[in-house]
Structure formats: C-alpha cells, structure tokens
Amino acid sequence: MNDFTLIRDIERYLEGEMSEQERTAFEALRQSNPAVNEQVLAHRQLIQQLEQFGHRVALQEKMDQIHASMAVNDVLSVSQAPAQKKVFTISRRLVTNMAAAACIALVTSLTTMALMQNASRQKTTAQYEDVRRVLNNIQRSQNALINDMNNKKKAPANPGTYGGTGFAISNNGYVVTNYHVIAGADSIYIQNTKGEAFKAASVFEDISSDLAILKITDSTFKGQPLPYSLKPQRALRGEAVFTLGYPRDEIVYGEGYISAQTGFNGDSAAYQVSIPVNPGNSGAPLMDSKGDVVGIVTGKQTTSDGIAFAVKSAHLKRLLEEMPKDKLPKKEWNHKNRLEGMSRVEQVKRLEDFVYMVKVYN
C-alpha cells in the first residue's frame, strides 16, 4: 500500500465516507498494523492543528478589525475634543493682575529657596569637622627630639602650623593626603617615623573629593617598594579596617569597621567608618585586614561620636588616572600585596615606614 492510497483511506475513514465493509477491513488493518494506526492518529492530530490554526487566524483578523474600529473611535473622540474646549477671553486688566501675582510668587519662592539652602549649608559645615591638627602649642615628643639630634637632616625649627597624615603611593616620593591639610600652604614638609623631614610640593589637588597628591622634592629622600596596593573594589559594610595616623607627634594605630557605603550627607565617593579619629588623622590610610588601602580618612561628624568618613580608594585610583601624564607617579599601586597573612603587629611595623606626618606652614 503506497502513501497516497493510505492517506486517502485514512481521510475517508475519518470523514466517515467508507462503507461498512471497508470500515471493518480498515479497522482490522489498524489493529494488526501499528504503523498504520500511528498514521491515523497523526493524521487526526494534523487536521486538528489545521483547524485550530484556522480558528486562530480568524480570531486574529477579527480582533484586528475590532481594534481598528476602536482606534477610529478614539481618533474621533480626540478630534472632537478640541472643539468642545471652552475659550477663555482674558481681559487686559486681568493680565496685569496675574503678572503681578506671578512676580510676587516668584520672588517669594526664590527667596525661600535661597534662605533654605543657606541654612542647610551652615548646618552642614557645623556638623562636619576636618581632622587636621593645629600644631602651634603641641609639645613634641621626646622621641622625635632625640631622633632630630641624631640626624643631620633637621626638621625646620618651627613645628608648623597645621598637621595631617599622608602615605606613599609610589616608591619615588609621591604621597597622598587631604586637600584641606595642605590648603593655603606656603611650604609642606613630610616627616617619617624616624623624625626625618623632607620638603614636598603639591602636584595635584581635587577639592571635591578633598584629596591632594604631593611629591617629595628633597633629593635626600630614598623610596622603597610599597608592600601594599590600592584596593579597586569597594569595601563591604562590616569589614574590619585599621588606620595609622599622626594625631600626636607619634604614629598612632586605630581600629574599626566600615559602617556604611556612603559618607557625609550621602556622599557616594566616601565611606562612613567607625574608627577613633582625632585632629591630625586627616589623610591617614584606611587599610583592610590584608593591609590593602581601601580609603583615606578625611573627617568626622561632630554631632555624634564614632562617626568618621573616608574617601574610597577607587576614587583615589580614578584621580591618579585623571592626573596629567607628566606629573603622574609610576603606576605602582597595582603590585602585589606583601602584608597578607602577617600578624597585625608585623603589618603595622612594615606600614609605619610609608605613613608620614604632613606639616604645613603658612
């Protein structure tokens, strides 16, 4: 039996065109030959599919018609709408009055806005405090004095007007600190833990993120390879961090954790950090447990305790990338961290050599 006769028979069988005799014969064939039976089922399904296809095409057409008639109605109602609109005639006097009222409203709202902005700015400055240190009347520690005597390199006799902290970002004398530490400086000195002081100059400042990059200009300065790197990823809330800074003449260690991903007033370039911060800590590096730099301490909130802020390291990195090429420190902040796995005491010992006191004279 070839395909054609089979399909004819199936079709006649399903349509009920077969005589009683043919029908019994075909049903017997269906029973005995599973292949034929399968063909019958498939055929029936095919016809069903075809009918459903037809229904759906018809439905789609009908819906499109309905849709089109609706769209026409919509268009009609829209085009009728403007005609129904009432026209107001505005008299000349009314215009003058309205203009006067509008002017008064405008002046009032502008004044209010100005006042409000002013008030909020005042409030903001009151809450935020830079943590640079006024050095005038702070005694220098004995330790530093002894170091001074032993060394030929003398720090200037004047202890400086302001002080902050800075840390090395390259092995050839580039140091990062806060802009507010060096703002308005006549001269800047960098002093290490041994008490040696070097002259430095600001090469790049970014007021918006409160960061400044200094270059040690003294030829006597000898750099060492950095044991840490700048962490490009952001630190997570709750991550333990520590800092080294100069709130006194001696380097001081502090420990805390990242408390929020944004800084003062929702500043997304900074973290909120819970860490003891005192005047002089400005510009201190914020390190994670591996000893990588995650931020730079900038300030604290005066209205409540234990809230400090730090600029994110990613921001510093972006700043370094934006710097003019000729001033650029070598791209060394990507190298491998050599502090991982050390005890904290060891880490601090190694880090001390790269964290400097920044002294500013003006």
Binding site: E11, L46, Q52, G54, K62, M63, M70
Partner: protein
Amino acid sequence: MKHNQNIERDRELLLGLTRNDDRALATIYTENYPSILRMVLQYNGSEDDAKDLFQEAMIVLYEKAQKGEFDLYSKLKTFLYAVCRHLWLKKLQTGSWQLALPDELSEVLPADDTNTMAEHEEKDHQFRVMEKTMGSMGEPCKTILEDYYIRKLSMQDIAEKFGYTNSENAKNQKYKCLMRLKKLFFEQYKF
C-alpha cells in the same frame, strides 16, 4: 449582589466566545482593552506593546473557552489582567521586550494559571509551526486545504472553484496536498 451579576454576564460572554459569536468577542475586547492599554502606557510601553499583549491574552482566553472546560471563578477582567501579567513576565525573561514589570502585577497568581500558560505555550508553538508550514505550501494546495478544513466548503464547491471536472478529482488533489502538509509539518514538529 452586583458581583454575582457580573460573573453571570461574564459567563454569557464566554459562552458567546465558545460559539464564535463575534459580538461577544467585540464586547470583551472593547471593554477590557482600554485598562490594559492604560497600564502598559503608564509603564512607558507603546500602544503596539499593549495591543500585542492584550491580543495574546485574548487568544489564551479563546483557547480555554474552546476547550469547554473553563470554569470562571473570577471576573473576566481579573483573568485577562493575570494572563497579561504572566505574558509580560515571559516576554521580559526571554528578552523580547524591555518594559519592567509593575509591582502591582507581581502578586501571586491563582495556581491554575501556570497550567494554562504551559498549555498556551504548547499551542502557540504548534501554531507557529503550522503557520510556517502553511506558508511554505504552494497553490492551489494552500487554498484547497484552507477552504475544506477551515472555511468548511464542500468538495463540490471546491471542485467548481478550481475548475476540476468532478469532486473526485478535487479530492485526489486534496489527498496529495494533505500528504505534503503532513510531511512538512511533522518534519518540524516533534511530539
């Protein structure tokens, strides 16, 4: 009991849809489309998005009604709304459209709906295959099959329309066409 009356009315509309009553279809369409359109526009969709979404939901409703086992337990509006939501989600997942799903549609669906949607997807797939197959059929096969199986014309009419000397000849032609359709269809569609 206004609620019950509404359900009663919806049931009648649905019965009309089962009987292929054009008026019922038009009523359901015109009464429900505006709210879907509003919703889609509100979420920055276009009018075409709304039309596609709503018409597909109508197809789901139609398929369910045709099966004859659709027991309306909620308002027709609610059902269409839920289906639209589901289709929206689907389109989002397959990346065929970018419109974010509004929160108010993220509510849990009645359990039955996942079944409905799976069935619809299967049917939709069958439809696409059949559409493609019929598209690739040549003339006069396409028209003969459509005339006989969809428009339900008699073989006599078809024979006259196509100029066959008698309906037996037309039938033979139809069998040949069926053979081709069957072959093409089952090549692409596997059960």
